[in-house]
């Protein structure tokens, strides 16, 4: 019920993102979701990919600082208010969101959420009738 996210430490220098996507391209790893958190000096690239172990290994071999983090993939109706209603449940439960990013796939929409209490977040969302993405689920869509 949790997704494994791949995070990569990057300095703010031209061409660094391309270096990462090149490595993933070479080993045939597909990226489903992608976001960058940046500061003036460095950034953290976060991704949901279809073969995280291969991606991790290949990036490490290229000298990147890489790690995996457990996040929640919340599926919401792809329509106005869809995400808002889901987040209201999260707020009500007192869960703090560290960061989130969203993407659309097929006719659906999903939000990747990293929270202070990930398990509680999953429980709150499933009890409220939301679907959370399973590991590998995006691959079969």
């Amino acid at each position: 019920m949790l997704l494994k996210q791949l995070s990569v430490f990057l300095e703010n220098r031209p061409g660094r993102i391309t270096q990462v996507t090149k490595v993933l391209d070479e080993i045939g790893v597909n990226i489903s979701a992608f976001s960058i958190a940046d500061t003036s000096d460095f950034g953290i690239l976060r991704m949901i990919v279809d073969n995280i172990d291969a991606a991790l290994q290949a990036l490490k071999a290229q000298g990147f600082s890489v790690r995996t983090t457990q996040v929640v993939g919340l599926v919401v109706p792809h329509q106005p208010g869809g995400m808002h209603q889901a987040l209201e449940h999260v707020d009500k439960a007192g869960i703090e969101i560290e960061y989130m990013y969203a993407f659309a796939y097929n006719s659906k929409a999903a939000v990747i959420i990293k929270a202070d209490d990930t398990l509680k977040l999953v429980n709150v969302l499933t009890e409220s009738g939301y679907h959370v993405l399973q590991e590998g689920e995006l691959m079969h869509e």
Binding site: S7, E11, T39, D41, R46, S65, V66
Partner: protein, 434 residues
């Protein structure tokens, strides 16, 4: 283990008599054979016969690196070139290299002191000594090589570079002793990790590390990563090469082989001796050296010395603490900064590896210190907040130790240039001299 008990455990009064005799002999050789020194003695009004012992050292002229440059390449040799059988050179800090010339007897002395050093580290003929110091003009490779051969150890003259192959050889040949710079030892450990090799698969048990300053924290890290006991060896081309001083198994300072190299600790400004235990500049007189015997050579190394007998039984004086060099000291906004201080701060924070670089610049007449720190996997968090928190913590710790502020820049692993010999720790972009 003690290689030469007679020389290393000599009664200090007997040692003094030996040093006095050897100094008198040296002074006369310098006076008659080296015009540079004769001129200096004459200017100071000293006749060779005036010198009776080492208590008069403080009145004799010193030798600086600049003097070697001025007399480049062979001007300070005390024997005809036909007697010189080997030349070495160290990269000069600026300009021309510093040259050392050795006679046959000098090479014997050098092997002897390296043999003593290896025994002090617990290395003997049963060991396989992997020498990763560069072979060539640099004294590290051949210096350790000769001494290891003298004690009958099996020597692998690996030299520098080609790190992966070196690791393979260490693994396949069963090297038990690694001799290299401490930064290369860490580089080897990193490379092993990259190759997926566990250092416990190797048979290494001792490291003979020198040629650059390193901290206690760095020693601990090397020992943890390579599963060996890391021993500090000291030397310099001008005096001989590695083997001028060496730690014993008790690791309570480096024993100076005083029967060949007479040490003094002096105030770098007044050049007057400082009492035992006080910090000063280390000065050596290579009294038995034939090829290029330097009198009171100023090493620029700041250190303390003791003559207390060591637990190991050696009576030789020990260098107890290296506090940097009087010439790698940075003055930033009026504050004296040693790179080793910054390294200690980084290593105390277990999250960081000792891969860092100081960049000093002067912008709008203000000195700016930027410290680039490589982010290793162990502390990489995917939360910006934590990463920024780490940078802040480093900044605060540096400020509390140095008393000046620094900008901390977190950089990707392996982006700070590592040469396979000495690490480039400081980039000073300021133009402080013409």
């Amino acid at each position: 283990m003690i290689w030469n008990e007679h020389a290393e455990c000599m009664d200090r009064e007997q040692l003094l008599r030996l040093q006095n005799e050897r100094l008198r002999n040296m002074v006369s050789r310098l006076y008659y054979n080296v015009p540079f020194y004769r001129k200096k003695f004459q200017e100071a009004g000293i006749n060779p016969g005036d010198i009776t012992g080492i208590d008069q050292l403080k009145d004799l002229p010193t030798t600086k690196k600049q003097d070697l440059r001025d007399n480049y390449p062979f001007g300070l040799f005390a024997v005809p070139q036909s007697e010189i059988v080997r030349l070495h050179a160290s990269s000069g800090t600026t300009g021309k290299p510093t040259v050392g010339g050795y006679t046959r007897a000098d090479l014997r002395t050098w092997s002897e002191v390296v043999a003593r050093s290896l025994y002090a580290a617990g290395v003997d003929k049963n060991d396989i000594v992997h020498v990763s110091y560069g072979y060539g003009l640099f004294t590290g490779g051949l210096g350790i090589h000769q001494g290891a051969q003298k004690i009958g150890a099996t020597v692998i003259p690996a030299s520098g570079g080609n790190t992966k192959k070196q690791i393979q050889i260490m693994h396949d040949f069963g090297s038990t002793v690694l001799a290299c710079t401490p930064s290369y030892a860490l580089y080897l450990a990193d490379t092993m990790k990259e190759m997926g090799m566990d250092p416990s698969e190797l048979k290494l048990r001792r490291g003979i590390f020198g040629a650059e300053p390193w901290t206690e924290e760095m020693r601990k890290e090397i020992e943890a990563k390579l599963h060996l006991k890391a021993m500090d060896i000291y030397g310099l081309t001008e005096v001989m090469g590695p083997g001028v001083a060496m730690e014993c198994e008790h690791q309570q300072g480096l024993h100076i082989f005083e029967d060949h190299f007479i040490p003094e600790i002096v105030d770098p400004v007044t050049l007057q001796p400082v009492p035992y235990g006080q910090v000063g500049e280390l000065v050596f007189s290579a009294v038995t050296k034939e090829g290029m015997p330097l009198l009171r050579y100023r090493t620029r190394d700041l250190t303390t010395m003791t003559i207390e007998k060591c637990t190991c039984g050696r009576t030789l004086a020990r260098l107890t603490k290296f506090l940097g060099r009087s010439d790698d000291m940075l003055i930033i906004r009026g504050v004296n900064v040693f790179p080793s201080q910054i390294e200690s701060v980084l290593l105390e924070m277990s999250e960081t590896e000792p891969h860092y670089q100081l960049i000093v610049d002067r912008i709008n007449n203000l000195d700016i210190l930027e410290i680039c720190v490589e982010v290793n996997e162990a502390f990489f968090s995917d939360e910006i907040r934590q990463m920024e928190g780490l940078a802040k913590k480093i900044k605060a710790n540096i400020e509390s130790v140095l008393g000046i502020s620094a900008k901390i820049k977190l950089v990707e692993p392996k982006t700070i240039e590592r040469s396979e010999g000495k690490a480039k720790r400081v980039i000073d972009r300021r133009k402080l001299i013409d």
